[in-house]
């Protein structure tokens, strides 16, 4: 078991980070090249000012009509996305690992806060799951892959929570936790989780077309 632990917490971390950053770079560059070749108008009409104007509205909770009309969803999705990025970076247990490996550290959140926020993420995932099952329009769009992706995102938090609280089998769960985190990182560039990478571009392009060309709002 120790070997497995060393493997997932050693070489696999590197692999996952390489896939994550390399993948992002690859996706961005290949898409940019493709756009240059086939969608030259994207470059022609992309406007920094109007692109950012639109992005800004959409990353502010209740900054758009859509966010205002669905307050529960808005609260959940914003909380979820913030926690998703926030927790892994500012978790004490992770910071110790950074410290041990590379001797770097920064501010961290208290364990209680981490617990609460993790529960929030897990609850959010349950919310998304229920939404997929219950709402007919969302259910209609949902495929197996959507559940898999949701599972990939939820897994590191569930297993992390389990491990921290040292529930039965927590050692194995710890390994699964690391592994699931690595899977998630690796999955981001190559699954629909890539919306993390492409959001600024799709939103920015629509914002540019609406703002710079059509003189209208897109929120």
């Amino acid at each position: 078991m120790h070997d497995i632990y060393n493997f997932v917490s050693g070489p696999l971390v590197w692999v996952s980070f390489i896939i994550f950053f390399g993948g992002i770079l690859y996706r961005l560059i290949s898409m940019a090249v493709l756009a240059k070749k086939k969608d030259v108008i994207v470059y022609e009409y992309m406007s920094l000012q109007y692109g950012l104007r639109s992005i800004l509205h959409w990353i502010i909770p209740f900054g758009t009509v859509k966010w205002q009309k669905n307050p529960i969803f808005t609260i959940v999705t914003f909380t979820f996305h913030i926690c998703l990025i926030f927790i892994p970076i500012f978790l004490f247990a992770h910071i110790i690992l950074w410290k041990e490996s590379w001797d770097i550290s920064w501010w961290y959140i208290s364990d209680i806060a981490a617990d609460v926020l993790t529960i929030v993420v897990i609850a959010s995932c349950i919310f998304f799951l229920v939404r997929r099952i219950v709402l007919p329009d969302v259910k209609y769009l949902t495929s197996i892959s959507d559940y898999v992706i949701l599972g990939i995102v939820a897994a590191p938090f569930i297993t992390g929570f389990w491990t921290y609280h040292q529930w039965p089998g927590f050692r194995i769960m710890g390994i699964i936790h690391i592994l699931s985190g690595e899977i998630m990182l690796a999955a981001i560039p190559f699954t629909r989780l890539s919306h993390m990478i492409f959001f600024p571009f799709t939103r920015g392009y629509m914002g540019s077309e609406f703002g710079a060309v059509r003189h209208a709002k897109d929120w």
């Binding site: 898409m31 940019a32 493709l34 756009a35 070749k37 086939k38 969608d39 108008i41 994207v42 022609e44 639109s54 959409w58 758009t64 009509v65 859509k66 009309k69 669905n70 969803f73 939404r131 709402l135 007919p136 329009d137 969302v138 259910k139 209609y140 769009l141 949902t142 495929s143 959507d146 629909r192 890539s194 919306h195 492409f198 959001f199 571009f201 799709t202 939103r203 920015g204 392009y205 629509m206 914002g207 077309e209 609406f210 060309v213 059509r214 003189h215 209208a216 709002k217 897109d218 929120w219």
Partner: protein, 447 residues
Amino acid sequence: MAEPAIKNSEQIDKIVDEGIDTGIARLTPEKIEQVINKVLKTETGARLKTYVETCVHCGLCSEACHYYLSHDNDPKFSPAGKVKQTIWEILKKKGKVDPEFIRRISRIASTECNLCRRCAMYCPFGIDVAYLITIVRRICHMLGVTPLYQQDTAHSHSANLNQMWVKEDEYIDTLQWQEEEAQDEIPYLRIPVEKEGAEIFYSVIAPELKFRAQLIYQAAVILNVAGVDFTMPATPGWDNSDLCMFTGDNEMMGRLKKAHFETAMRLKVKRIVMGECGHAFRSVYDVGNRWLAWKMPPIPVIHAVEFYYELIKEGKIKIAKKYEGAVTFQDPCNISRGRGLHEMARYVVNATCEEFIEMHPNREHNYCCCAGGGVINAGPPYKMKRIKGNRIKAEQLFAAKARGAKVVIAPCHNCHGGIEDIIHHYGLDMELYFLGDIIYKIMEKPV
């Protein structure tokens, strides 16, 4: 027994459409696969790929769509639902789909989406579903499967460079006829034809020639009273409309826009002012011109709403007495979401009408009329589908009526056609006008 080719056969439209039916009968799976892959390979790229891969299937776009809302939240009518039934399936099967599938996607693309772009404002990623549906229409066009009436309009465009088979002499004759009619009211009035160097080329769409000649009359009165130096051409190129843009015949779309802009260049005008048409504005403003490599229209195109705004604001048109009935206003997609003219429109409405009652939602968020995007041009077979696909518009109008509105102003031909049918079908008993109708009624005219 084998399963039917399409499982949900009850969902398939029973509407008979020779354009689609005959087109389907000529297809083979091989041809379909070849055409689809050719379109995808040669005409799509990063946008399609990004849009498909970025969509997280969240359903947030659903409530943006008037079809979805009007069909009791039927998921098949949600924007992403329509993309699922078309683009996703095409990509998943790599073009290996059967003719019946093409029938279904032709129906969806041509008669269940108005390309109104409202959903782009409800998708957090700004995924352009109208663009995706346009790809579907393009594929259907390349396969020869387009609703008959739409295709016939595209043919008229190709043969006459206008959408209603108007011959060269009929167009000029109509202008002269309207000029004479209007001279009974304003003796000095002219519709100057081929006046090189005029400030403005006033351009219209063919239905104004065929069915709504009074709009040319009214425009002539407004332009003459305001002292505008304008002209109209005596050649094809006068029609600014473009249904080829909506059938997916991009090559013809480009040809039409070239003729229109080159007519303006030949007449040495500084601006093109167009009548109250939404789709035509889209075709000249940010679609057709792009196909021709003009980043923006080479000669600026001013929609009637903006032009009325200028005339009233600059005092060129004076209001004798404001229109007395309470009015509400339909924001056409192609000039609100498409050009941000909604505030100027409100300025004109407030300047010309005693009482203005807003519809809700409004401005960029207004619901489409369900006639635009070429849907009304799919013709009578789809009329009821179109009306039922916009029950939400009837409810929206009814709410405005409940607050006192008796008149709907819709500065767009498609909105007009769509809302007229909605008013009749749902028994709303409201009057429907163009903005030009109102201005003509209430403006100061020389005695």
